[in-house]
């Protein structure tokens, strides 16, 4: 039994199944992070004092991470575009860079976290640090998730390229959409937590 439109596009909707599914998933992710941003607003509005981000956080490191993550989004697109043009070799290179960028982001985040812990800044210190650790922690989990998917597509999952190149290209595109969301969430997190 074959499920229709896993790869081919349904004529009247103009989409395949996976494309709709990933956008719906992204919508739910927006609601998840949206609820946490809304919580941030409610907590901050209700607080008597609210520290500036720089009091606790390292803005240069976070700027570096922003650049790293945006670059990884670019290489992710290039990885997908390489497949569209039929160049599997270039896909491997760009996907590897994307995964490495994710890794760099996490390593920088690790140094940031350990510096906080070293100074005794914990989630329980105050509400600002509580929401900082919750939001960046949840975002970090998303980075790990995105990297896991990308690594699979780079490694064992890429066997599909030989059998069903269009299906594989679609998978890379959908993984890319998720990776862009992870990037986008950070682009909101960075100013909200570090700059405002």
């Amino acid at each position: 039994m074959e499920i229709p439109y896993t790869v081919a596009v349904r004529p009247d909707t103009g989409l395949n199944n996976g494309k709709i599914a990933i956008w719906l998933f992204l919508a739910s992710e927006v609601m998840l992070f949206g609820s946490l941003f809304a919580s941030y607003i409610m907590l901050r509005v209700g607080a008597e004092t609210w520290p500036a981000g720089a009091t606790y956080l390292n803005i240069p490191l976070a700027t570096l991470n922003t650049v790293v993550l945006i670059s990884s989004s670019v290489t992710m697109v290039l990885a997908w575009a390489s497949l569209v043009k039929g160049s599997f070799g270039r896909f491997r290179v760009f996907m590897a860079i994307t995964i490495l960028c994710g890794l760099v982001f996490l390593v920088v985040k690790y140094f940031e976290y350990s510096a906080k812990f070293h100074h005794g800044y914990l989630p329980s210190t105050n509400t600002f640090l509580a929401i900082y650790f919750t939001l960046t922690g949840l975002h970090g989990l998303h980075v790990v998730g995105g990297m896991a998917v990308n690594a699979w597509l780079w490694g064992p999952g890429s066997a599909m390229w030989k059998v069903d190149p269009l299906h594989f290209t679609n998978r890379v595109e959908n993984a890319g959409l998720f990776w862009h969301l992870v990037d986008l969430v950070w682009i909101f997190l960075f100013p909200v937590l570090y700059l405002l």
Binding site: E2, P4, M31, L36, S39
Partner: protein, 590 residues
């Protein structure tokens, strides 16, 4: 137009399946990716949880009817930590209350209505071979199962299960025992499950519709499931966010929901404070009000199918019903704070949410009215599914109407958090949603098994349930109007002003136990009919929608050949036609 042929047809389906794929028992029935098997798994697990949640409630009813008296034999069985000497401890009563609500809503009604009926019926009704993502579908069921295991397991952790009500209001829930952490982890599994399921339902409905099945030829049930899926997709993530925040509060000692200077048992709590208890309520009800529609929309979908089929005439106002259900879906996202009128959130907010609440009642009334008018002039067949559907209409009507005073800020001040609220939403969910779900079980049972359930046992089940549902829930309204709080361990015995309504507690409890007795015919009927029920053809109800074009039970892949939709879903009693129904899949009418 005689009765359906009782003769068993040659059942190609079952034979077909046997040599289709050689799967072991484990892969065919346990780790199945077939939407029908998953639907049945969901339905049976959901029914078991309903029974379990009902059991918790019957224990509570003992305490409410006869406060502080020892429960014979069962009390001793539950142990000294819960019921010393057979008398219930208040902590255990709170566990029962919180877990009854959680289990009935998240592990019972929703899995049965959405996971069970959605999975089994929706792909068949749109003429699809399966769901769009069969393996994600399986993951959805197993995530639900894991959530259920965590919830059940929480009864055995030190201090017992969650005790802060099904709403888990902060700060009470933040300072509660270990069971609350398990509750939150269980919820994360359940939310993951419904996320995976809802994406699957939406993609399936959009992409896998049979040729010719345009949106306005979809049965109303499919529309109801589609809107429900959007609610699950977009309303559940904020509760997941809230669950993370509460987990942080409990595990990492943050104070998202703890205000400054909170005093517990006479001591100031050593938390940083600065949090906002109302934030939890907002996040919770942002999910939980759409959740109310998740409980009721699949039920309305089932009733629409059963009513159209058994009144032998098209649904009255199919298009307005579809527009209404979409409108309900949108509106359900902006009514949540009507649960919070007396929290001190301010009159501007209250007025806004009062207005939206009155607006959302309009499309709900449109749907209910359309269903009632659909009966007008029909040739009604009073079979078991139809009886449950007909019972649903007035019961849901009572549930809806009793909700109006709760949606108005002035009358809500008196009624808030009383038994009246319990009466209101139990009328919506118990003789409302549950009756519709029973109607669905009796209606689609022949499709799932190739056999019909017993009409006699079904009718005993229906009449007993109808009577005793009302014996249970009508007293709630009276007790609530007298001002008795919903959360009292002694059922209001300590209220001087409520003494005159307290005898109703016992009436209600006896009703609950009688209701349990009347579920026995259903359980017997269910299992007996699976093996011994009368064999029926693939379209025993002479229905028009596509699921009846498949063999009963449908093989893997569902249809022997791809169905095509040639007309709308409810072409009953078409003038000039040879029969009183024109199935969607038959090329030419008459």
């Amino acid at each position: 137009m005689g009765p359906e042929p009782a003769v068993a047809r040659h059942r190609e389906g079952a034979a077909h399946e046997a040599h289709h794929e050689e799967l072991g028992f484990l892969w065919k029935y346990v780790f199945s990716t077939d939407h029908k098997t998953i639907g049945i798994q969901y339905a049976i697990t959901g029914l078991l949880f309903l029974l379990f949640g009902f059991g918790l409630m019957m224990l509570m009813r003992w305490q409410l009817a006869y406060p502080q008296s020892a429960l014979p034999w069962l009390g001793a069985l539950l142990g000294e930590a819960r019921m010393p000497g057979g008398t219930m401890l208040p902590e255990f009563y709170n566990e029962l209350g919180a877990m009854h609500g959680t289990i009935m809503v998240f592990l019972g009604v929703v899995p049965l209505g959405v996971g069970g009926f959605g999975n089994f019926v929706l792909p068949l009704q749109i003429g699809a071979p399966d769901m769009a993502f069969p393996r994600i579908n399986m993951a959805s069921y197993w995530s639900y199962f894991a959530g259920g295991v965590v919830m059940l397991g929480s009864f055995f952790v030190p201090g017992g299960a969650a005790q802060s009500g099904w709403t888990s209001y902060a700060p009470l829930s933040v300072i509660a025992g270990t069971g609350q952490t398990w509750w939150l982890i269980g919820m994360v599994f359940l939310i993951t499950s419904s996320l995976l399921g809802s994406i699957n339902f939406i993609v399936t409905t959009i992409q896998l519709r049979a040729p010719g099945l345009s949106y306005f030829r979809l049965p109303f049930f499919v529309w109801a499931q589609l809107v429900t899926s959007f609610l699950l997709l977009l309303a559940f993530p904020p509760l997941e966010g809230a669950a993370f925040l509460q987990l942080m509060d409990r595990i990492a000692n943050t104070s998202f929901f703890l205000p400054s200077g909170l005093v517990v048992s006479g001591q100031v709590l050593g938390a940083t404070g600065g949090g906002n208890p109302l934030l939890w309520q907002h996040l919770f009800w942002f999910l939980a009000h759409p959740e109310v529609y998740v409980l009721i929309l699949p039920a309305l979908g089932i009733v629409a199918e059963v009513v159209a089929n058994n009144s032998r005439r098209p649904l009255f106002g199919y298009r307005p019903m579809v527009y209404s259900v979409i409108f309900v879906g949108f509106m359900s996202f902006i009514v949540w704070a009507h649960h919070m009128f007396i929290t001190g959130m301010g009159t501007t907010m209250a007025t806004f949410f009062q207005t939206t609440t009155m607006i959302i009642s309009i499309p709900s009334v449109v749907i209910l009215t359309a269903l009632i008018v659909s009966l007008w002039g029909g040739s009604i067949r009073y079979n078991t599914p139809m009886l449950f559907a007909l019972g649903f209409l007035p019961m849901f009507g009572i549930g809806g109407l009793t909700g109006l005073p709760l949606g108005l800020t002035a009358s809500d001040i008196h009624l808030h958090d009383t038994y009246y609220v319990i009466g209101h939403f139990h009328y919506v969910v118990a003789p409302g949603s549950l009756f519709a779900l029973f109607a669905g079980i009796y209606y689609w049972f022949p499709k799932a098994t190739g056999r019909a359930m017993s009409e006699l046992l079904g009718k005993i089940h229906f009449w007993g349930s109808l009577v005793f549902m009302n014996v249970i829930f009508l007293p709630f309204l009276l007790i609530g109007l007298a001002g008795v709080s919903r959360r009292l361990y002694d059922g209001g015995a300590s209220y001087a002003h409520a003494q005159h309504v307290l005898p109703w507690n016992e009436v209600s409890s006896i009703g609950a136990w009688c209701l349990a007795l009347f579920q026995i015919p259903f359980i017997v009927n269910f299992f007996w009919s699976v093996f011994r029920g009368r064999r029926v053809s693939e379209n025993p109800w002479e229905a028009t929608t596509l699921e009846w074009a498949a063999p009963s039970p449908p093989p893997h892949g569902n249809f022997l050949r791809l169905p095509e939709a040639h007309r709308g879903p409810y072409e009953y009693s078409v003038p000039g036609a040879a029969r009183d129904y024109l199935p969607q899949w038959e090329p030419s009418g008459a």
